[in-house]
């Protein structure tokens, strides 16, 4: 006789119940807690960055951007006393040419000036190996590779006459979670005053294009050495504006 084991799992109704209770609990806590809003302002050097406008880099490359999208995830507060407070489910997909996505609301966090805000640029290894996720991490957002599983941390697309590619396009799809080609990068900023609970972060894409030769490096679509070269520069694109 065949004996079989069964795998017991929570049925969907129970999951619903749990989430609702959590939601209710959350809203009660929120009223007493604190929050922090992050606004990301895109620039090309001193100019405001706009879709499909022309810019010139230090290397004299004329550049136009059609898409800049990236993940900011795993937000934490590191207090002056050295304690870390993790913010659960703080995973955001920012699309530079979509105003709403440039503003990130961190709920239920308490902080003081002098504390540090830590986050990842990209998606950590665990999330890369956890199957189908939801919300900003839903693979339907177009930031996921298919034949080789994994998130695209950072997408930059546009064109430049310096690229001798089809239609002068450059495409950087930066990602990869396996060593030695793990492309997720860490960033920290010190919260100095955060007036009205708002933290303004400047994002300057020129810093990347000033430091690479796009006539040679213009198509990065898989994890590897080239992706790492670009990933190493990405944290420098973000700076606190106070």
């Amino acid at each position: 006789m065949l004996k079989s084991k069964t795998i017991k799992t929570i049925t969907s109704k129970k999951i619903k119940l749990v989430t609702l209770v959590l939601l209710l609990a959350n809203s009660i806590l929120f009223a007493q807690g604190n929050h922090l809003k992050i606004e990301i302002n895109p620039f090309f050097k001193t100019k405001v960055l706009k879709k499909d406008s022309w810019y010139v880099s230090k290397n004299n490359d004329s550049l136009q951007f059609s898409k800049i999208k990236f993940y900011l995830t795993d937000f934490k507060i590191l207090t002056k006393e050295g304690k870390t407070k993790q913010l659960p489910n703080s995973d955001f997909l920012v699309s530079i040419f979509n105003v709403e996505s440039r503003s990130i609301l961190l709920e239920n966090i308490s902080y003081k000036t002098g504390d540090q805000l830590l986050f990842n640029i990209g998606v950590n290894e665990k999330m890369n190996t956890s199957g189908a996720l939801s919300g900003s991490l839903d693979p339907a957002n177009g930031m996921y590779w298919s034949w080789q599983s994994g998130y695209i941390n950072f997408k930059i697309e546009g064109k430049s006459p310096s690229c001798s590619t089809r239609k002068n396009k450059f495409q950087f799809h930066i990602g990869g979670y396996k060593k030695p080609f793990a492309a997720t990068r860490f960033k920290s900023v010190t919260i100095t005053n955060a007036i009205n609970n708002v933290l303004i972060i400047d994002f300057d894409i020129a810093i990347l294009f000033d430091s690479i030769d796009i006539s040679n490096l213009n198509q990065v679509m898989i994890p590897g050495k080239e992706a790492i070269e670009i990933a190493d520069i990405l944290p420098n694109l973000f700076s606190l504006n106070e």
Binding site: M1, L2, K3, S4, K5, T6, I7, T9, I10, T11, S12, K13, I15, K16, L17, L20, V21, L23, L24, S27, I28, N128, T129, S130, G131, A132, L133, S134, D138, P139, A140, N141, G142, Y144, S146, W147, Q148, S149, G150, K178, F181, G224
Partner: protein, 339 residues
């Protein structure tokens, strides 16, 4: 006040009752690798996944479904084509793999490029040679479909279609495609219909001596990648695992596939180069190519007499599981069927 309303909403959900499905497998098998926590394990989610699996809506021009390349009666693989055909007859670079007992896999595809069963479907959906679309487009199409709004509502108490839900529903279907009722299984369990002939017993012995180190019982596969001595097809230049890890020591290594239902899953190997099991056995006995990454298990030549080859072949046929190949629960969902 809002808290009280909350309680009422909660109660509303408690009243929705979905039928639970159980993941069954023989108790002497290893524990599945897959952790089922994201699945709702309900009949409704299973049926939704089944509809998706058989629906050509998942391809750009509505011509190709998962089942186009993964047919039930042939162990959910594509027969008679060495390289699977997709949209507009475009030919892919690999032969489809039979899909069964997936919960025991640590990675998917011939090169292990996919790291989790829940994201496996993204590969065919977005491959130009296969379904040539994107998950975002499918989400949009399904959100416009009354049939799917109702199926998603039943499965998730929410008619809104998301990429995650599509992937989970497909997983709920494919993860249930388990095969453990072949004559071999009955022989191991001492069950009715499991009496081996002398020839089958000899065949099993030959198998255990020469093949089982890689095609491990009871799944007849393993999660390792090995070079089993096939020469490189210069028209495809497929180096297998190395394309994922970029390590030279992984050159020409491929996943060790299951041999369950092997009688029906021709053609064989990642590029479908062999039409018959005789050719496969001849490969192992006389055509193994020596190269720096050839598996240790195959360094020494396997020597089999003609009779032993036949015995081995006869044994391989005991891995056929009719109950699996003809299980109606896994077949095309006819509209009249209510469950």
């Amino acid at each position: 006040m809002s808290f009280i309303i909350g309680i009422f909403i909660c109660l509303g959900f408690v009243l929705v009752k979905n039928e639970e499905v159980f993941f069954e497998y023989p108790e002497y098998w290893p524990k599945p690798v897959y952790n089922f926590s994201k699945l709702s394990m309900t009949e409704e989610e299973f049926q939704l996944g089944r509809h998706l699996f058989y629906d050509p809506l998942l391809s750009r021009d509505h011509t190709i479904s998962c089942a186009s390349c993964h047919l039930q009666a042939t162990g959910f693989t594509h027969v008679d084509h060495d390289l699977s055909h997709g949209i507009e007859g475009r030919i892919g670079t690999r032969n489809s793999i039979s899909i069964m007992n997936l919960a025991w896999n640590t990675s998917f595809m011939w090169d292990g490029g996919v790291n989790h069963i829940e994201v496996q479907s993204l590969a065919p959906i977005s491959s130009e040679n296969e379904m040539d679309t994107s998950l975002a487009i499918i989400v949009e199409k399904l959100n416009k479909s009354e049939k799917y709004n109702s199926l998603f509502q039943k499965a998730y108490q929410d008619s809104l279609v998301t990429g995650q839900k599509i992937l989970l529903a497909l997983t709920q279907f494919v993860v249930m495609l388990n095969s453990y009722n072949s004559k071999y299984d009955k022989y191991i369990r001492n069950e009715l219909g499991g009496k081996f002939t002398e020839q089958e017993k000899i065949g099993l012995k030959i198998f255990r001596n020469n093949c089982a180190s890689c095609h491990k019982e009871p799944l007849f596969s393993s999660n390792d990648f090995k070079n089993n001595g096939l020469n490189v097809d210069s028209t495809l230049n497929d180096f297998g695992r190395m394309m994922v890890t970029k390590k030279p020591e992984d050159s020409l290594k491929f996943k060790v596939p299951t041999l369950r239902n092997i009688q029906f899953t021709q053609p064989f190997m990642h590029d479908g180069r062999f039409e018959t099991l005789q050719e496969v056995i001849n490969h192992y006995t006389s055509e193994v190519q020596h190269s720096p990454t050839l598996a240790n298990e195959l360094q020494e030549q396997i020597i089999l007499t003609h009779k032993e080859k036949v015995d081995l072949l006869v044994f391989l046929r005991t891995l056929t599981d009719q109950k699996f190949l003809y299980n109606k629960r896994f077949s095309y969902p006819r509209e009249t069927q209510t469950n």
